[in-house]
Subunit: 260 residues, 2 copies
């Protein structure tokens, strides 16, 4: 048996997210269908590092699948990309140890969220940024971002998964949460050891409420302490969010492609 690790990028605009669902077009299903044809198997299961919601994009989603034959990786990547729609691309494929698991081996993730702040939206970014019409106080947003860094109980910033409330530890550590100015707007970069359901979008929603003076900075600790999702602002829309990087321990899989 062999384990294959895929590095995948996709424009999530046209999909109902990563994870297979009945009557929905998903990235996981597209990949599985292609591999089933190429590998002449009735079922191939492709396991991702985690799901991304409808409309969320990925620059560096990671997934794995197992297969009983040793495959020519160069031919495989060309064949997969030849059969996938053009808004999903497999960037690299590697053979990894059999104990590699795209979800359970992951020790960290990085997401970027794009806010567009100019008055007139750039039509080329309309599907990849949240367009804010109100004026934002970026200095206040920097201050709010600091309140999220470190180890917290993120219950107030996590939605219940629609698969039911799987009881998971709500304690997470954000290694950093930075606001970077770029042409036309800002990019919010967040890196942590793991993320609860909709956690990034809920944090971005709160940062925007603070920066648009709708939520006082000092309410952030109160919202954390409430451990109640209803106390926190609405989630930011999905189309501004990118899964950028998934990190694995070097003993399971040597680090490459790490931007840091």
């Amino acid at each position: 048996m062999y384990c294959y690790k895929l590095l995948i990028t996709y424009d999530g605009t046209a999909y109902s997210g990563w994870q297979v669902q009945p009557n929905a077009d998903t990235i996981q299903e597209r990949l599985q269908n292609v591999l089933q044809v190429l590998l002449h198997r009735e079922k191939v299961t492709v396991i991702g590092s985690g799901r991304t919601d409808a409309g969320v994009h990925a620059l560096g989603q990671v997934a794995h699948f197992k297969h009983d034959q040793s495959l020519d990786l160069y031919r495989l990547i060309v064949s997969i990309n030849g059969m996938l729609p053009k808004d999903i691309r497999v960037k690299t494929i590697e053979k990894v140890p059999l104990n590699f698991h795209a979800q359970y081996s992951a020790i960290g993730k990085e997401y970027h969220y794009y806010l567009y702040l100019d008055r007139v939206m750039d039509p080329f970014r309309r599907l990849y940024c949240w367009h804010m019409h109100q004026k934002l106080n970026i200095e206040l947003m920097h201050q709010a971002a600091c309140l999220f860094e470190g180890t917290h109980d993120f219950t107030s910033f996590a939605n219940e998964s629609y698969a039911g409330s799987v009881s998971r530890d709500p304690i997470r550590t954000l290694h950093y949460l930075k606001i970077r100015e770029m042409e036309g707007g800002i990019r919010i970069e967040v890196r942590g050891d793991g993320f609860l359901y909709k956690m990034v979008r809920n944090i971005v929603g709160a940062l925007v409420e603070v920066a648009s003076l709708k939520l006082p900075l000092l309410n952030i600790p109160i919202i954390f302490n409430s451990k109640d999702r209803r106390e926190a602002p609405n989630a930011a829309p999905s189309h501004g969010l990118f899964l950028v990087y998934v990190d694995y321990p070097s003993q399971i899989h040597p680090k490459e492609n790490c931007p840091h």
Copy 2:
């Protein structure tokens, strides 16, 4: 009577080009329809600096229309963008002298053409770059580009317009034609006093043939001399092309937004 100058950006993917045509969705028609509603007129004619073909994009298309009333420009731009689809945006509107004409007053244009050269296409650029699978010799492309700069009879690099062969002077001056390397590929920047139909895409097609060693560099002057479109390579596809800037004499309209 007042003359209004529009600076327009659009993602051309979904449109049959700039110019109104029967049974086709065009940018000119979208703008005219919106203005007819907003200005309560049966017909408003929006005249562009020139047409762009189906799939061609614009960062800085210019157009004008005339109207008998003085309009509040801030309200107008908000209203127009509120009614236009999100892949077309009016960036600025200005009142200009009545002798301004978006097409006839133009004294220069700049186009950019994007080639993507990495093995695996970036899904976020799939609609905005031509993906080349063969290896290109960029040094040869630089040399070929020099042969196009300056004043030439561009008959061999111009298609007949489908509106019929309107006899126009085929002598044009390219102020520059530069190849710039960027992440994942190159950008071909071309600036000139005017362009014949499909001229930029035909030039890019020839540059690519030279760089992929299918067309000897020394054949370029022979193709120019033949004055025969059939001697030159095929046009590059439309979706890599962007109209970036249209230049007007400062006495008709003061220069602004000029990137140079």
